[in-house]
């Protein structure tokens, strides 16, 4: 009779734990994650954190320098710069997240149709994507922004359209490789409709690379929104936006440089954090894409 040993089998390493440990093993990723967390907290709890109402004007206290009362001074209308920066994080995050979501939805839909249907549908759709990609992102955003208008929803839609082609390309590439696989052929042979095959068998395989792209594109979306606001074509006043604050600060650079510098640093640090964490997410989810996206 075989006697089973009481000894416990060697513990298998927990893959998720190892991945998380690996993800946070680099110092820049830790710093980036802390920055993103801080910006998220700023955006969510802005009314609780901001020392003043960001729209409250005080013409007596115009263009104040840094002080204990106003850490980053005041702007040309006497509004507290720090409070406007904290509320500005809402604009940046909202635009970043939702425009990425819009681009992901549009791009994946186009990529799925183009890749799965193929032939002339594919050719037309991808040439349109090529045409969109041939216009530099800021110029296309300026152009569409002028057509759509300056509201938050319009800016999100505008940036969503501008970023769509990269998702469409990644999804189409993924569809073309997946649709050759045996299990997809089997699904079709067993009577599955085209739509069912796409939704149940091809779409799930397109999610990972698009998620990687989305993480990496968040920083781009924040940058383009800041650039549009800087040019006066982004979020309209009095809603605070970092790019708009740099633009206002530019006009008073000699007398009150704090606003432009502080808003500039907020943009750079936040975009840097999203870039660093985006790179780490890419390495975590699909190391093969390193350098490809």
């Amino acid at each position: 009779m075989t006697v089973l040993s009481d000894a416990k089998p060697a513990a298998t390493p927990n893959l998720t734990k190892l991945r998380v440990k690996g993800f946070f093993s680099r110092v820049p990723v830790i710093i980036g994650s802390v920055i993103i967390l801080t910006v998220v907290v700023f955006a969510v709890a802005a009314p609780l954190i901001a020392p003043y109402d960001p729209a409250k004007q005080d013409v007596v206290a115009r263009l104040q320098p840094m002080s204990a009362e106003h850490w980053f001074g005041t702007d040309g209308l006497g509004r507290d710069v720090l409070s406007r920066l904290i509320f500005g994080s809402r604009t940046s995050l909202l635009v970043g997240l939702f425009s990425t979501l819009v681009a992901g939805c549009f791009g994946m839909a186009i990529g799925l149709i183009a890749g799965f249907v193929g032939k002339w549908v594919d050719s037309i759709m991808m040439r349109v994507m090529d045409a969109l990609m041939s216009i530099p992102i800021i110029i296309l955003a300026l152009f569409l922004g002028a057509v759509l208008g300056r509201g938050l929803g319009n800016i999100i839609l505008c940036l969503g359209i501008v970023m769509t082609p990269s998702y469409a390309r990644v999804t189409r590439g993924q569809v073309l490789s997946v649709k050759q696989l045996d299990y997809v052929t089997a699904a079709r042979v067993s009577g599955g409709t085209g739509l069912k095959t796409v939704v149940h068998h091809i779409f799930p395989n397109c999610l990972a690379p698009n998620m990687v792209l989305a993480t990496m594109n968040l920083g781009v979306a924040i940058l383009v929104e800041a650039a549009l606001s800087f040019l006066g074509m982004g979020i309209a006043e009095p809603t605070p936006s970092w790019g708009g604050m740099v633009s206002q600060g530019k006009d008073v650079l000699t007398t009150a440089p704090t606003m432009a510098v502080a808003a500039s640093l907020f943009i750079v640090i936040t975009v840097w954090a999203f870039n660093v964490v985006g790179d780490a997410v890419r390495d975590l989810l699909d190391p093969r894409l390193r350098g490809a996206l």
């Binding site: 045409a131 041939s134 800087f230 440089p257 500039s264």
Partner: protein
């Protein structure tokens, strides 16, 4: 190879035609009437109707589109409503201004970026590598207007070395002209230098681990020869790809730079034509920008074959 070039050229023409379609019809969806903006609020309906006819805006959109394309084919770019001049007269001077800081910025980005990338890869894990990588990653995150603001503050306001805005043609006053280009060139190229540094470093690191590099070193070649003739040549494909992609980024950046430094280039003309709904100027600028980006990508595709003969063989 000739077949491949022709096919790529054909694709580019199709894409460019799609750009003209998208730009033309989207532009006419812009709210606001260019003639009313041009004449002002005091204009009578008769004046508006007269000038609408003069500028051909009373014709059906499809007729206006075909006329524009026919004009493009003959080098006729139409009439600017806001400037009351032919677009063909306005654009060349603006292009010169834009190129005067865009070209130096491109050259600077490629030279400094690839040099730093190689240097950083050769010192992997050391302090120099860490510092360069950190600065490069901040450069990628910093938009041109942010770098421009910081430069104005430091070199213009604090140190008073350079004037903070304006443009002087180099042909008029070379010293003043160059001094006014310093900040725009640095601001525009800063992010691109970061991108080239990161791309070159990563491409070099992939290559210098290969067996043929070890072989080159073991046969006694000088380190400089190993790096330039063997490693860099094989790392060139991603660098050249980035060169093609950076053209779009640089052109996009010019709008920001020209607004910040008040320079009379294509970028500021583009902004002005959006504000004035100056259709002819706007559609021609976007068309030429798209054409420049497509031409850059086309050249990069052709260059691939010369850098790596294996690509040429596959295309055959």
């Amino acid at each position: 190879m000739a077949g491949y070039v022709l096919r790529r050229l054909g694709q580019s023409v199709v894409v460019l035609l799609l750009v003209t379609l998208m730009v033309f019809f989207t532009m006419h969806a812009l709210p606001g009437d260019p003639v009313t903006i041009f004449l002002g609020t005091t204009a009578t309906p008769e004046q508006i109707a007269h000038y609408t006819e003069v500028f051909g805006l009373d014709q059906p959109l499809i007729v206006q589109y075909v006329k524009w394309l026919a004009g493009l084919a003959h080098g006729e770019l139409g009439q600017s409503i806001a400037l009351s001049k032919p677009v063909g007269e306005v654009l060349p001077g603006r292009i010169v201004v834009t190129l005067s800081f865009t070209l130096p910025a491109l050259v600077l980005s490629v030279l400094v970026g690839t040099t730093l990338g190689i240097w950083s890869a050769m010192r992997r894990g050391r302090l120099a590598d860490s510092v360069i990588s950190a600065v490069a990653s901040f450069g990628v995150a910093a938009p041109a207007f942010v770098i421009g603001i910081l430069l104005i503050l430091l070199l213009g306001v604090q140190l008073k070395w350079l004037s903070i805005s304006g443009y002087t043609p180099i042909t008029e006053d070379p010293v003043a002209g160059i001094k006014k280009l310093v900040m725009p060139v640095i601001a525009l190229s800063f992010g691109q230098v970061g991108m080239f540094t990161r791309q070159t470093r990563s491409a070099m690191l992939e290559v210098i681990g290969q067996d043929y590099i070890r072989t080159a070193r073991s046969k006694g070649l000088k380190e400089k020869t190993v790096i330039v003739a063997h490693a860099l040549r094989n790392a060139l494909i991603p660098i050249v790809t980035l060169m093609g992609m950076s053209i779009g980024g640089l052109i996009g950046g010019t709008v920001l730079i020209e607004q910040l430094f008040t320079m009379p280039g294509v970028g500021s003309l583009l902004m002005m034509s959006i504000m004035n709904r100056d259709y002819m100027v706007l559609q021609n600028i976007v068309f030429f920008i798209a054409a420049a980006v497509l031409a850059a990508n086309f050249l990069v595709d052709i260059l691939y074959g010369y850098i790596d003969p294996r690509i040429r063989l596959v295309r055959k």
